[in-house]
């Protein structure tokens, strides 16, 4: 009804999205480690157990392969499960279920079965959680045909993407960057929260260089663009939103306009999503380029625990600024 906006945290937006999904569709249920009594590792499901009961907010044993597989089975059986995995590092234990089952069953059944599961997980560094809880492995999942991978970088997308993902008849993985949960932002009022999960979004318009990023690096990129505008460099910032399938059209149109591209990706450089995007730009916009495509990625080390080393290992505003100046030859 109301088109007015609400201000909330990313965490609250995820919780509101979960609550709405549970209310709208009784086939929806949430399961994962500590999602019930504890309220979720990042407190996204706090209060939902009391509201929806143990059947729909289910604490699971510490077995990512087991409960992810159970979620896939439930989806095959007609439910709309939301599986929460604490962090992408732990999701490696569920890779077999995700890659060998969720991603393949529609194909292997000749379209007879679909797997409408949504798997949420935290990703990324920045909270001093050391090398087993801080990696950005979105690209491992974005590599796999048969699943859709999304990365809400704004509070509004955190609020809106979940329902769109649930409606998708195929598996969707939602990556929530661990540094975003406390971010405050605006979401549209009740009834206007839905968003697409197909298109990248231009978060800032500019004509000199395109910064292509997603998730936890979006705000750093916007801050870099702001700093650069003070030096007369006018950056366009693209939030990918969906990592698979990539929205080539938005990327290529922007690079054709600005002639320069910097990709900010918290994943490691080698074999990164940034590498894939760079290749697509070269394939589709080579003659528009005025400088080699630049990448700002994480250092190729396990993400360190000490704060200063963790920062040094991951993209920061300063490194994005320097990379943009590089492609501007300034």
């Amino acid at each position: 009804m109301s088109a007015s906006t609400l201000t909330m945290t990313y965490r609250d937006a995820v919780r509101e999205a979960l609550r709405e999904a549970m209310q709208r569709d009784e086939r929806v249920f949430l399961m994962g480690e500590d999602v019930g009594r504890y309220g979720g590792a990042y407190a996204c499901s706090k209060g939902l157990l009391e509201e929806f009961g143990e059947d729909r907010i289910r604490d699971t044993p510490l077995s990512e392969s087991g409960f992810t597989g159970a979620g896939i089975g439930a989806a095959l059986g007609g439910m709309r499960p939301i599986v929460e995995v604490m962090t992408v590092n732990f999701a490696l234990l569920a890779l077999d279920q995700i890659v060998n089952n969720a991603a393949t069953i529609r194909h292997m059944s000749g379209g007879q079965f679909s797997v409408p599961v949504v798997i949420r997980m935290a990703t990324g560094a920045g909270r001093q959680l050391a090398a087993q809880h801080s990696h950005s492995l979105e690209n491992w999942f974005a590599h796999v045909p048969g699943i859709r991978v999304v990365a809400p970088a704004t509070v509004a997308d955190a609020r809106g993407m979940l329902w769109t993902a649930i409606e998708d008849p195929d598996p969707v993985i939602i990556f929530e960057h661990a540094t975003l949960y406390n971010e405050v932002g605006e979401v549209p009022g009740e009834g206007n929260t839905e968003v697409d999960i197909d298109r990248a979004a231009i978060r800032r318009e500019g004509g000199d260089a395109t910064i292509i990023t997603y998730s936890g690096s979006l705000q750093k990129s916007l801050d870099a663009a702001e700093a650069l505008s003070g030096e007369g460099i006018d950056c366009e910032v693209i939030d990918l939103r969906t990592l698979r399938p990539l929205d080539d059209a938005t990327i290529i149109a922007s690079v054709a306009k600005t002639h320069r591209a910097v990709i900010v990706d918290e994943g490691w450089r080698s074999g990164s999503l940034a590498g894939e995007i760079s290749a697509r730009i070269t394939e589709q916009a080579f003659y528009d380029l005025d400088a080699p495509v630049a990448r700002v990625c994480s250092a190729e080390v396990p993400i360190p625990y000490p704060r200063h080393l963790e920062m040094a290992a991951t993209p920061q505003v300063e490194t994005v600024v320097a990379a943009v100046k590089g492609v501007m030859r300034r």
Binding site: Y287, L289, D290, A294, E318, A322, R329
Partner: protein
């Protein structure tokens, strides 16, 4: 900046082909300069070491400006200019970005971005004539700040036909303003020459065949050695005859305009050498890449209209030269030989002379010698 022609008053250094410290020998091409007549390669006339480049690529400088310093063999190094070093650029505080291109040794050829190359094409700019940025790269910025692109007459690479037309206009106006021209002409029977050429070419491979321009040049050059008043320069009120015969071979450019670069010492070259020089010149004229000596050195010009053109021409002297020879097309006409009217191949050759230096009689004597030489083509 050398004057590469009578009316050149500025030039733009496009690129340096030698760098400070390089050892230079007379005749080396050190730089390429853009002029109204296209890109010209600048040669050095002394041996030495390139000490300092004074004019960076891209700067338009007047004729006479020092482009570079060359230290002659045995000369002491110049005192370094006492200039305080420029303040150091403040180093950015950020860590070096690993995305920056690693230091790659200087590469051959243009380092130009794809977007810049496309934009240059769109604007009709020759990227080779655009000064690179301080990083050695030609990007959109360099193309966009290169000469704005007014609609230009389409011409060969490196040539701006509008500029060339201006240069021709200035030189020809000066010529007609300052030089009291006289004209003499003679119709020459070139049947023997053409027969000899046909026989000669029949036994040569296609690529070694001679055009009749080569014997014309050779005969003119040899005849000119006996006509010093037609071969030299008139500068600052004084005529200086030239010992050597450097014939400017007028060469038309597709799209309009012409240049007459020198064929040095044409009187001493064999016909095959002359032919090679002609072929090379034409290719380089059309490519817009001539050498400074070719632009500066002609002592006389020969303009050959060629087949199917006009019977005769009345050419205009290119200052500071004092004569120009114009050859009309070869045509078959009735001609009297030994009291009989017979068809012969005829060419009308005109000489325009500078009356301050010579008289029509001298030009007529030249034509007479030229005629005789053409009657024994095998002796050329």
């Amino acid at each position: 900046m050398p004057a590469l022609g009578a009316d050149m008053d500025w030039g733009i250094v496009i690129e340096w082909l030698k760098q400070p410290g390089d050892v230079l020998s007379r005749g080396d091409i050190v730089a390429v300069v853009e002029t109204q007549k296209g890109a010209i390669e600048i040669e050095v006339f002394e041996d030495g070491v390139l000490e300092e480049i004074k004019v960076e690529p891209g700067r338009k400088v007047p004729v006479g400006e020092v482009l570079a310093l060359i230290r002659g063999a045995g000369e002491a190094a110049a005192e370094p200019d006492v200039v305080p070093p420029p303040p150091e650029e403040p180093k950015p505080v950020t860590a070096p970005v690993t995305t920056a291109a690693p230091a790659i040794p200087v590469q051959e050829g243009l380092r130009i971005s794809p977007a810049a190359r496309r934009e240059a094409e769109r604007r009709g700019i020759d990227p080779a004539a655009v000064a690179a940025g301080p990083d050695g790269i030609i990007g959109l910025r360099e193309i966009e700040s290169a000469a704005p692109a007014p609609p230009r007459a389409a011409g060969p690479k490196g040539l701006d036909l509008d500029e060339m037309r201006k240069a021709i206009a200035a030189a020809m106006a000066r010529s007609k303003r300052e030089i009291p021209h006289y004209y003499v002409s003679r119709t020459i029977d070139v049947s023997l020459l053409m027969d000899w050429l046909a026989t000669e070419n029949a036994r040569r491979p296609v690529e070694a065949r001679l055009l009749y321009a080569a014997p014309l040049l050779k005969a003119a050059a040899r005849a000119l050695t006996k006509s010093p008043q037609l071969n030299g320069r008139f500068e600052e009120g004084v005529f200086r005859p030239s010992g050597a015969v450097h014939i400017g071979a007028a060469t038309a450019i597709r799209g309009g305009g012409l240049i007459a670069p020198a064929i040095h010492d044409a009187d001493t070259l064999g016909l095959d050498q002359l032919m090679d020089k002609l072929r090379d010149l034409v290719a380089r004229v059309r490519g817009g890449r001539l050498r400074s000596s070719e632009m500066m050195d002609p002592t006389v010009t020969l303009s050959n209209l060629g087949e199917d053109t006009a019977d005769a021409m009345y050419p205009v002297i290119y200052p500071p030269q004092v004569a120009i020879i114009g050859c009309g097309a070869i045509v078959e006409r009735p001609w009297v030989v030994d009291g009989k009217v017979v068809p012969r191949n005829l060419m009308t050759v005109s000489v325009a002379g500078d009356h301050r230096v010579s008289d029509g009689r001298m030009a007529a004597q030249f034509l007479n010698r030229f005629d005789r030489l053409l009657q024994t083509p095998e002796a050329l």
